[in-house]
Each structure stands twice: as structure tokens, then as C-alpha cells.
Subunit: 342 residues, 2 copies
Amino acid sequence: MGGHNSFVSKRGKKHVKDLLKQTTSQGAGISTISLTPNVKMVLYVIGLGLGDEKDVTIRGLEAIKSSDKVFLECYTSILSVDKNKLEEYYGKEIVIADRDFVECQAEDIYLPAKEGNVALLVVGDPVCATTHTDIMLRAFELDIDVELIHNASVMGAAGSCGLQLYTCGQTISIPFFEDNWRPTSFYSKIQYNRGGGMHTLCLLDIKVKEPDFEAMKRNKIVFLPPRYMSVNTAAEQLIEAEEIEEGGAYSPTETLCVGMARLGQKDQCIIAGTLEELKEQDFGEPLHCMMICGEVHDLELEFLKKFMVEGSKFKANDHVLQGAAAAAAAKAAKVPEDDNEE
Amino acid sequence: MGGHNSFVSKRGKKHVKDLLKQTTSQGAGISTISLTPNVKMVLYVIGLGLGDEKDVTIRGLEAIKSSDKVFLECYTSILSVDKNKLEEYYGKEIVIADRDFVECQAEDIYLPAKEGNVALLVVGDPVCATTHTDIMLRAFELDIDVELIHNASVMGAAGSCGLQLYTCGQTISIPFFEDNWRPTSFYSKIQYNRGGGMHTLCLLDIKVKEPDFEAMKRNKIVFLPPRYMSVNTAAEQLIEAEEIEEGGAYSPTETLCVGMARLGQKDQCIIAGTLEELKEQDFGEPLHCMMICGEVHDLELEFLKKFMVEGSKFKANDHVLQGAAAAAAAKAAKVPEDDNEE
């Protein structure tokens, strides 16, 4: 094993030796590579955490400083600061890797790691999204050493509201409903989670760099402004999903839910209440996420009270009342799997 | 709202003003408190991440540097370095807060935050354990401002093996079986998770500062050396639990599981295979944890192959074969709640 928390291929070490050999035999060919002991030729995948430029770890910052190229993946989450602020603080030029870039030019990220250090910065923790898994797998195939540098993720920070993370079931993603596309595949997952007394973390849709089809008809490539789903929209869609499915997975007027915005940032906002209540609250700027409670313990409830909508009409532990358990049981053998997150 | 990611009570600001007033009216009484704009009088609860002294975030390090007292909670997890190394790197004296301390003297941690900054360091992320929730609640009652500084936790880093964290159900804790105490309350949770196609993260027991009852009989207070459950022991106990319960929640010879050790550290070790296979592997030093797979997708399996026991006899997606789904359905309405993690 090589670096910290690394996935070093068996041929990794040999590769360095080969390059050293090349230096001797080919000379100028690789003269731009400084093969000092500090150069490891690693693809660092570095979590930036959730807040701003200071939420990187010391280890992460050292890796960024040692990198020849730095990319920032920025379509699965956002920080509270922009690229310039990061560049200034890290002292490195940063190339934005949007969805197009990551999906169509991934090799531009991992191939340079055969000749020097490359840092791929990811908001939150690197292992929380399949995109990065994919890049890592492709790097492994080419014997590129990959080193993960972990950080906080929304899946951890969601515990700030007082709900125990141990009790969370599968995480769901709620996509923006469109006129003719109102998918409710998340519904049965909430139902199954609540049937087992589990909370459900809901990640809300992000639409970044979506093509403007109207403009495309005029042969112009135009992108729509980014859209981030609010807790309000999520609450409305969840209420609609219950109206469509009628499975009693949760009650819009009784089930306790927690809306959260900008978790891990200076002005994070947490409000607890029913879906009907949360629909009306102001959570401010993105990103938002949400928890739908399952079985709530006393300590959890005590903590949640701090964030409760005044006079909330919620009923604690209504997952039993709602018959979600029974409904979940009926569906236990066939949970759909069609909306895995990116 | 005050500091970064803080829970500032409404009376928080007023409290500072009161103290300032006291400075004027009482003089020497609080002369040791330097009320410069930098002093916020905050209880920082700071995640240290999983590796060593360099896994703290910049924000976390700044908070430690600004604290008058620094405590290290050290009974729910461990780093790869000891207290001295942390003290040297952070430039602060650190007081170890073991289980006794946190449970019996918690006020020694949060009360000083009424007069200056206090840092409570926690391995991993601060919101992943109920103990810290409890201290925070007590601090709130006294109008003490609490600021969480997030970091990586085992619940996130467990994704390093390639299994999607979104697909994880409730997390279980596996306690050391004793001669006359072999609790299997985790069993029905695994069953329910797998019934819904979910993976199960298993946290393994830690026994730190357990009293030596033999010595106590001789009126001596002696503590046993710390014990950390290995993947091997966990695998054995899981096999025994299936023999006891006979619910077909998983198969010792077919269900794919992943043993992980020292996640986020230099020499982390990940091995995938069946329980019977993992029982025989050498994972090295603590901490260990484990994943029991539910429904495994192609990308997950491709990643896991990197860690697979040679010639593993696992059967992918055996959660359907095992009849776990049907069994879970029968139990859907009554999931026990008796082993919440500390």
C-alpha cells in the first residue's frame, strides 16, 4: 500500500521505476516531470466538506498544494463560495468539471495522474456519488493510484437536526416533477423505511446546465439557469405523491418531517413540522434537503423541538398509525430500484 | 445566528453583553476573560475525521487554536495517533474525556464555555453519536452557544468499498457475546434491511475502561484492557445469530459481506467475501466494521471485485434467494428498538 488511504495497484510502484528509467533512457521526453520523493503520481479525490474554502482538511489542502492539475466537480452539490475564492485560498488554478466534462472527458481528469498529481475536488465526501466511483474504476484499469481524502457529507450533516443517523433507511432522491413526468418511485422506499421505523433522508433535485430546448430549435446551444429544489417544492411533491399512490406511507398533516438548508454553512436553517407546515416555511438559498421521520425517540424529539414550527400539528410516531408498516410488508418482496442517485 | 453552523440561542448575544457589563461593574471578577471580538464563548464540537492529526479541517483547527480548554472524547472510536501527537500538532493541551468523564462530569466540558471557548474533539463526525447530542442539549439549556464542525465519519467512509451509501438501511451495532448474554436484536434489522434490498452497516463493539469485576471483589478498581471487536468475531457471531434465529436473513456461505479495518487511515484494509470466508481473513489492528450486502448493482460489484477473497463462493443478490424479503415482511410491523448505538 502506498499513500494515505490509497488504492495502490500492484504495478503502481513499478510504474514509478519505469518512469525513472525513462528519464535516463529518453531524457527530454519527460523532462517536465519532477520525480522528487514528494511526487507520487496520484489521483487525489478530495472531499471539500459542505461550507466554504476552510472546510477542507489539512491532508486535503496538502494534496491540493502538491497537485499539478486541480478539478472541481460541481454538479452534484454546491459550496457557499465560488471558484475564485477557492483558487485564492488554495493558491491553485481550478478547472470546473461540470456534468458534460465528467461524463464525456473523464480521461482529461485521470490520465494526467499518470504523469503527476491530480486533484479532483468534490463537495462533501468523495464516496457519496456514483460518478466518482466510475472515474476511480477507470483510473484503476490504467494502474493509476487513487487516494481518497474524506470529509463531511450531507448524509452525515443531516444528523445536525437531532435525528439519529443509525435509524436512517435508504436515501431517496426527489426529482423535479414536469408537466408530463411525475415519477413517484421514491414513494415505496419511504413506505418501506417507515414500515421498519426508519427515517428517510431525501436529497432534492439539482438541475445544472440543462439544455434550453426552445433555443436548440433555433440551432442555438443555450443552457437554462441552474435550478435547486426547495423544501417547499419537495413537500408539495411528496403530498402529491401520497395523493397519487394512496398507500398511507406518510400523512401530509401528521408525519413529522425536517427541512434543512445549507447544512454545514454559516446560515444553515433547520425547521421541523408536517409537510403541510414545511411547505409554507422560508428556507432561503440552496441547497435544501429533508428528513421524513420514522420512529422518533425521546432524545431525538427533545432536540427537534428546538427547530419546530410553532404550534406544529405533528403526531410523533405516526408511522404506526399510518399503516405504513402493513403496506410496506405487502411490498417487501418487490422494492423498485429505478432511481439511484448520481 | 452567530458563528459558523452554530446553534446560537436567542439569549446568546445578550449573555456577551451582560458579561461586558460585568467587566465594567465588577471589575476584577472576570478579569481573566479577554472579551475581544474573537472570543465568542462557544462550545465547539469538532469532528477529527478518521485518520490522524491532519484530518481535522482548517475551520476545526482554527477553533481548537482559539479554545481555552480542549477535550478529546475517546470511547466511541479511535484515531491512528495518540493524544501526544494531537497535542503537539494542535499546540494545545488535551484532556481525555472517557466514558466516565462524559457521563458523570459532562458539566466540566460545557460549563467552561460560558466563560470562553471550549473544544470537544470527537473522532469522526460529531453528530454520529447520541452522547454528543446529550451534551449539546444540556449546553442549550444553559444558553451556551454550540458550534458543530463536521468531518468524515465511518458511516461515510464505509462507502470506500464501492457499495452505495444511498442503499444502506439502518445501521446496527454488534455487541460482544458473553457466556450468558448472546443478544441477537440486530438480526431482525438486517433481515428487514435485506428484505428491502438494502445494505447493512455493522458497527462493532468497543469495550474501553470496562471494570475488572474480579479485582473489584478484592476492593480494587482495575480496568480491563480495551477490546475492539474484529471482523472475524463479528462474522462468527453473525453466523451464530443465524443459527439461533433461523430466519434466513442471510447465508453464512453465500451472502456477500465486506470487512473493513482502519477506514480513512494509511493502511486501511477492505476484504469482500462470505461470512465463512471473512472469518478467516486477517484485517489487522482496530477499528473494524462491516457491511452486509443487500441488492448489489453492477457498478458496486465491479468495484468490490478489487477487494474480493480469491475464489469467493458468494452469490450476488442472494437476499432474494434467502427469502429474507418474505421473512422481513412478516416482521415489518414490529421492528425492535433496543440496541441504539452510543
